[in-house]
Amino acid sequence: MVTHESGGGGHQHQPPSGFIRKWIFSVDHKVIGIQYYFLALFSVFLGMGLSVLMRIHLVWPNAQLPSWLWPGGGQMTSEEYLALMTMHGSIMVFMVLTTAPQSGFGNFILPIQIGAADMAFPVLNMLSFWVTFLSLMVLGAAFFVEGGPPISGWTAYPPLSALGQIAGPGQGAGQTLWVVGVGIFCIAALLGALNFITTTLDLRAKGMTLSRMPLTVWAWLITAILSLLSFGVLLAACILLLLDRTAGTSFFIPGGLVLTDTPVTNHKGGSPLLWQHLFWFFGHPEVYIAILPGMGVASHILSTFARKPVFGYKAMVAAMSSIGFLGFMVWGHHMFMSGLSPYSAFAFSLLTMAIGVPSAIKTFNWLGTLWGGKIQFNTSMLFALGFVSLFVTGGLSGLFLAQPSIDLYMHDTYFVVAHFHLIMGVAAIFGIFTASYFWFPKMFGRMLNETIGKIHFWITFAGVYAIFMPMHFLGLAGHPRRYADTTGVNYLGPLDEVHYFITIAALITIAAQFLFVINFFYSLKAGQKASENPWNATTLEWSVASPPPFDNFGGQEPVVYRGAYEYGVPDAADDYVPQHLAPAKAGKAH
């Protein structure tokens, strides 16, 4: 283990003894990071399970499901399909895409990468996790109430989401639990964001200037800023919706509604559009909350395994910052078809397409990083390359949808489903896999199996394209999203085989994810022991034992002497120089 120069004033802190303090109500950022990771791992399989049921229903709408697969057994109704869709989206967005890349890996890695002993506020950190856990419980409780989960989708548009039981099954207790659960999640996200930003700003080790921070840290910082500024708005929207549902107010509910011949008399004058504005003011930054950490991780891993410095480090930081900034000004592009003024739509459209500029800078810099590198194609690198591929594929279709005149046709079709799954869902998941294969040795002290990893990558990579590429064609053919059953819709009949293909691809891809789980738990027990720095990487987390000791640096403060990406250094003993290596020691390598 590398010794660190003392920054002075260090104290070694004793780890807590006892299972509860150590693993359940731990204040150690590493344990909390792992807790978040497992919460996301559980949630992602739950979310995937729901999508399998949906895919099965789409191609075999009359299938009699066995009772072990479907409560009570029998045929799935359209409402039940919508309930699965709502929960799939909500669980994936909040509990997986927001949780794993930021709260999971960010928690574990960020403090070590900047040379801190823990997050700034460890108790607050623990609270963030348990509030997130509570949120998952409340959201999940919707499965077990009368009427089941809500049917209004993860966007919960009123008036459907605001009127209660009369609007459909799941719109009673299920929708209320959804609103409360998401509201609780907002609080957890705000507490977490506050901790991340403070830690990054004020707890960096000596020498860790902003321009020496790994791009992962930059990504987590920018993501936390987006969380801080957006989740408060969703919380406000959830409170308004809850009041409309339970207290008889009319923030979102217009007058003159008639539901299955029953006029709605106790509400009037509200605006469903108001919810959409509030929701998407959160919802669009949320997309970047999901994807930005993946960008940071991909940049980091591409540089490490191409054995080259990141191409255009400052441009990468500027691009991520401007993506974050522009992310707050484009929410209206979700509402082109909601009755938005064409003038607003024009502005939102231009701003949305402007995001293509920093996105292109990032893509070219990733290619520039790879160019001429001695590329090591291990599993983590493969997933990082996959991330770049998916980012481009998913991002390009965004340029189509960003234009109101094209969106007129594409809106609410499978084209949109393909777009956001590739960019926000699958690309972000690839970021999570990249990080998993890269940091598993650091987190658990053992290596993941590379052979299983590569098989996992190739099936997943081919699989996600097989699932989502054909959806573009479904959308272009005018196939609306959210339809539970297309039987009898004549113009969609010829598309049945495409759906069949997608479902088969989905079943294979999802089955391949069990390879990851098997690899994960097998390696946890019996993987090859990881050394301190198995990847010959430069950042601070690789200067401590795997897994790191309780207070990360043994009571010492590391000192940082250089940037994060000194790879391919010609004069160095190895081809890299770690950030913490003092110039005198590095000089000996001459």
Binding site: G7, G8, G9, H11, H13, D118, A120, F121, P122, L194, N195, I197, T198, T199, L201, D202, L203, R204, A205, K206, G207, T209, R212, L228, L229, F231, G232, V233, L235, A236, L240, L243, A247, G248, T249, S250, F251, G255, G269, G270, S271, L274, H277, L278, K308, D551, V559, Y561, R562, G563, Y565, E566, V569, P570, D571, V577, P583, G587, A589, H590
Partner: protein
């Protein structure tokens, strides 16, 4: 230069940006004081407070835009007459901002007794404000104006309740500052009092903003 070792590598004092180069042992409590947590610079607490307030601003701005948008739709907007007790409440809250300031100064001067007096007075004024807000609600309810009566009344109850909850949190924080044994903490009582003061002043300013919104925007 990437990929090269240069001779002019210099160590730059980064981090502890607000700590002014003070080692991470904390400068105001002589070590970590047995809190069991790694010490952090005092400035980090102020960073966090400012960030927390930024989050709260976004929450109230969302409600404010909703107010303006909903009013703009307005066929059913009925302006409610604000209960006069609100003006008294506002005065109480303004005075409490002054008393908390005096209390903090007394604590920094080491006058614990005087601190407790002014701090207690601030808590009392905070409770008086909250009681006054409840009276305002009861007066409106007596006139038959309820949460669901019309959009203006909905926003009145919602905004006052949201602010009241935040202020109640502030009162809990003041009690915490007064009664926690600060010997075993990463910060001193004076720092905690200063942080609570920032929050309290912010809640005062926020109330004036909301009152202006409710009065001018009705």
């Amino acid at each position: 230069m990437p990929g090269t070792l240069t001779d002019d590598i210099e160590i730059i004092e980064a981090g502890h940006g607000r700590g002014g180069g003070v080692p991470a042992g904390g400068d105001d409590d002589g070590g970590d004081g047995g809190s069991g947590l790694p010490a952090i610079p005092r400035g980090a607490y102020f960073t966090a407070m400012q960030l927390g307030l930024a989050g709260i601003v976004m929450f109230f701005m969302a409600l404010t835009s909703s107010f303006l948008v909903r009013k703009g739709l307005g066929t059913d907007w009925v302006a409610i007459a604000l209960p006069p007790v609100l003006w008294f409440n506002s005065l109480v809250l303004l005075v409490s901002s002054a008393t908390i300031q005096v209390a903090s100064h007394r604590l920094e001067e080491g006058d614990a007794q005087s601190f407790r007096y002014w701090w207690g007075l601030t808590i009392a004024l905070g409770l008086l404000f909250l009681s006054g807000q409840v009276i305002a609600w009861r007066q409106l309810a007596a006139q038959g104006v309820f949460l669901s009566s019309n959009p203006d009344s909905s926003f009145f109850y919602l905004l006052t309740a949201a602010h009241g909850l935040h202020l109640a949190g502030g009162i809990l924080a003041l009690l915490y500052v007064a009664f926690r044994p600060w010997r075993r903490s990463r910060i001193t009582q004076a720092t905690a009092a200063a942080l609570a003061g920032i929050y309290w002043h912010f809640m005062d300013g926020l109330w004036l903003f909301l009152l202006a919104l409710l009065y001018l925007g009705r």
